[in-house]
């Protein structure tokens, strides 16, 4: 793939959880875990999606049914066509004994990272059992649910010290709700553990020119979406503001 949009056909659909499906395309892609693609549905819109599945011959994205665009995408079937360009952005920097903590949409980035590095401890947080993702792909995943219907009850961030005592991680990766990532970052900073978080911002161009996705002096699409702890600790907007479609600053 490249800067030009390529039309690709859905070759497989996987039911991941309630209102969450993964779509697989038999299409080669040069890719590093953490990168995203722009997905085009002609006449509808074009939005960013993390690559959640990647092999030599295939790639996939996991779609959360939310608004207009994801409703369309979610309801697509094998043989349907979408446009993709990318992948864009940097990826995670892989090194040392590591943990990856994700939640919701953020799990997509976590699982491709974990596929490449099978020694990573994966931690997932979700509202409830039926929202947990990728359980078959990663049977050893550490799971948390808000309501305790599966795995431990509570947020993964409540158990950070405990996990760290046990595994002595050199690095923690995180992708998910910004409030969660902010907590992981603060924890890592206080313990001197390396940290990388993958941010989400409203995107338009995806290639670093339009200014839609900025977070302080950084473009999430091009300088990110993965940022390291030292950068994140200097980003005032992190955990606070993002730009809406018009460019208005809104709380994250």
């Amino acid at each position: 793939m490249s800067e030009q949009i390529e039309m690709v056909k859905i070759c497989k659909v996987i039911e991941e959880a309630e209102s969450v499906r993964t779509f697989i395309f038999s299409h080669k892609m040069d890719f590093a875990p953490g990168q995203f693609i722009m997905v085009w549905i002609p006449r509808i819109d074009e939005k960013p999606f993390t690559v959640s599945y990647h092999t030599q011959e295939e790639f996939g994205i996991t779609v959360f049914r939310l608004g207009e665009f994801t409703k369309r995408l979610y309801s697509m079937n094998v043989g349907d066509q979408i446009g993709v360009r990318g992948p864009y952005g940097n990826g995670f920097n892989v090194s040392g004994k590591a943990c990856a903590i994700g939640g919701g949409v953020g799990m997509a980035a976590i699982v491709t990272l974990a596929t490449e590095r099978d020694d990573i401890v994966i931690v997932q947080g979700a509202k409830t059992a039926v929202s947990l993702l990728y359980r078959e792909r990663f049977p050893n995943m550490v799971m948390f649910t808000d309501d305790g219907t599966e795995g431990r009850r509570g947020f993964p961030t409540d158990y950070l010290s405990q996990l760290q005592e046990k595994h002595k991680f050199e690095k923690i990766y995180t992708c998910g709700p910004e409030i969660m990532m902010k907590k992981v970052l603060d924890f890592c900073l206080s313990r001197g553990v390396q940290c990388e978080a993958s941010l989400e911002r409203y995107m338009k161009c995806g290639v670093g020119v339009c200014g839609q996705c900025v977070c302080d002096g950084f473009r999430v699409c091009t300088d990110g979406p993965v940022f390291s702890a030292d950068v994140l600790s200097k980003i005032n907007d992190f955990g606070r503001y993002s730009l809406s479609k018009s460019g208005k600053k809104v709380n994250v």
């Binding site: 074009e46 939005k47 161009c205 290639v207 020119v209 200014g211 730009l243 018009s246 460019g247 208005k248």
Partner: protein, 318 residues
């Protein structure tokens, strides 16, 4: 051996001093103060905010930006948070560290005035230059947003004259009028703008519009179907426009269109530009393109015994 030369890259546009002639043009990255600070720190001599209208606009749906082998197409559609939010965002504007140009848009002449009102002190000439915008720019030339620019007939001599005069009366800051390359006679338009009170001409906005069709989807790629063309494709057209305008008017020109190297910048200045805008090249060369271009200009000047930009500006007319 000759003694080493001192190269002076400082530029002047309507009395505004720039450490170098490179400017971030409207529509690229100019959404927040922090990102403009980054661009300034990366070497831009001045920066322009993303064009602001009186009320917030979501712009066109995506895809809004599209690369092709000879440049870029865009139909962003003037998404912006409206002047109230913008005035808030750009308070303490002095932090940016280089002159900041306010790009403002409107459908009728009145709308432009509303935006000026909305920015308040940020556009007041009586304020200290470090606590306000350095200049105001009005693009009468966007080719892909209904209600604005060429689609609203703002690039006719009559409309240009009317809007420029109205803004001129309202705001005492240096006034840049940004023209479209898609007009029958750009020199004439520049003269009309000058006569109506413009202090400088920004030439040019994107050309076209153009269209790219994805043949597998059998659909135009941009959601608005067509978009303005920028980048390398635009450069010779922009250079010709600047060359023509330079012959026609006394006021300085900000040359914009497809500049991505020091040679390109010097070419534009030889055509008659006093300063240059660099937008699309950010895609290929990153935000550091400003420093890159400035370094390349400086190298060429050293090799050619040219000490200052004054020896370059308009040199192709001799």
């Amino acid at each position: 051996m000759k003694p080493p030369m001192t190269i002076n890259l400082s530029a002047d546009i309507c009395g505004i001093k720039l450490v170098n002639p490179t400017i971030l043009p409207a529509g690229f990255l100019g959404t927040t103060k922090e990102i403009l600070k980054r661009v300034a720190n990366s070497g831009a001599g001045a920066v322009t905010i993303k064009s602001i209208s009186s009320v917030a606009r979501d712009g066109h749906k995506n895809p809004t930006v599209l690369m092709y082998e000879a440049g870029m197409l865009n139909a962003v559609g003037y998404s912006n948070p409206g002047v109230k939010a913008a005035a808030n965002e750009f308070s303490n504007i002095g932090e940016i560290g280089v002159p900041v140009i306010a790009s403002i848009i409107g459908t009728e002449a009145d709308d432009f005035l509303k935006v000026i009102d909305g920015f308040g002190d940020l556009l007041s000439k009586s304020k200290d230059s470090s606590s306000r915008f350095s200049a105001i720019e009005i693009p009468l030339s966007c080719p892909h947003t209904p209600g604005f620019g060429t689609l609203a007939g703002q690039s006719t001599p009559e409309a240009t004259s009317e809007i420029v005069s109205a803004v001129r009366k309202k705001c005492g800051l240096p006034l840049f009028v940004k023209l479209s390359p898609n007009v029958p006679d750009i020199s004439k338009l520049a003269m009309v703008a000058q006569d109506a009170g413009a202090d400088a001409i920004t030439a040019v906005n994107t050309m076209g519009p153009g269209m790219v069709i994805n043949i597998d989807a059998r659909e135009p790629v941009l959601d608005f179907k067509v978009g303005g063309v920028s980048g390398a494709a635009l450069r010779p057209i922009a250079v010709r426009c600047v060359f023509d305008i330079y012959k026609a008017v006394e006021i300085p020109i900000i040359g914009v269109g497809g500049i991505s190297s020091g040679r390109d910048a010097i070419e534009m200045m030889m055509a008659g530009a006093s300063t240059v805008g660099i937008g699309t090249a950010i895609y290929d060369r990153g935000i550091d393109v400003f420093k890159g271009v400035t370094d390349e200009m400086s190298d060429w000047m050293t090799n050619n015994g040219v000490g200052s930009l004054n020896e370059i500006i308009g040199a192709a007319h001799k």
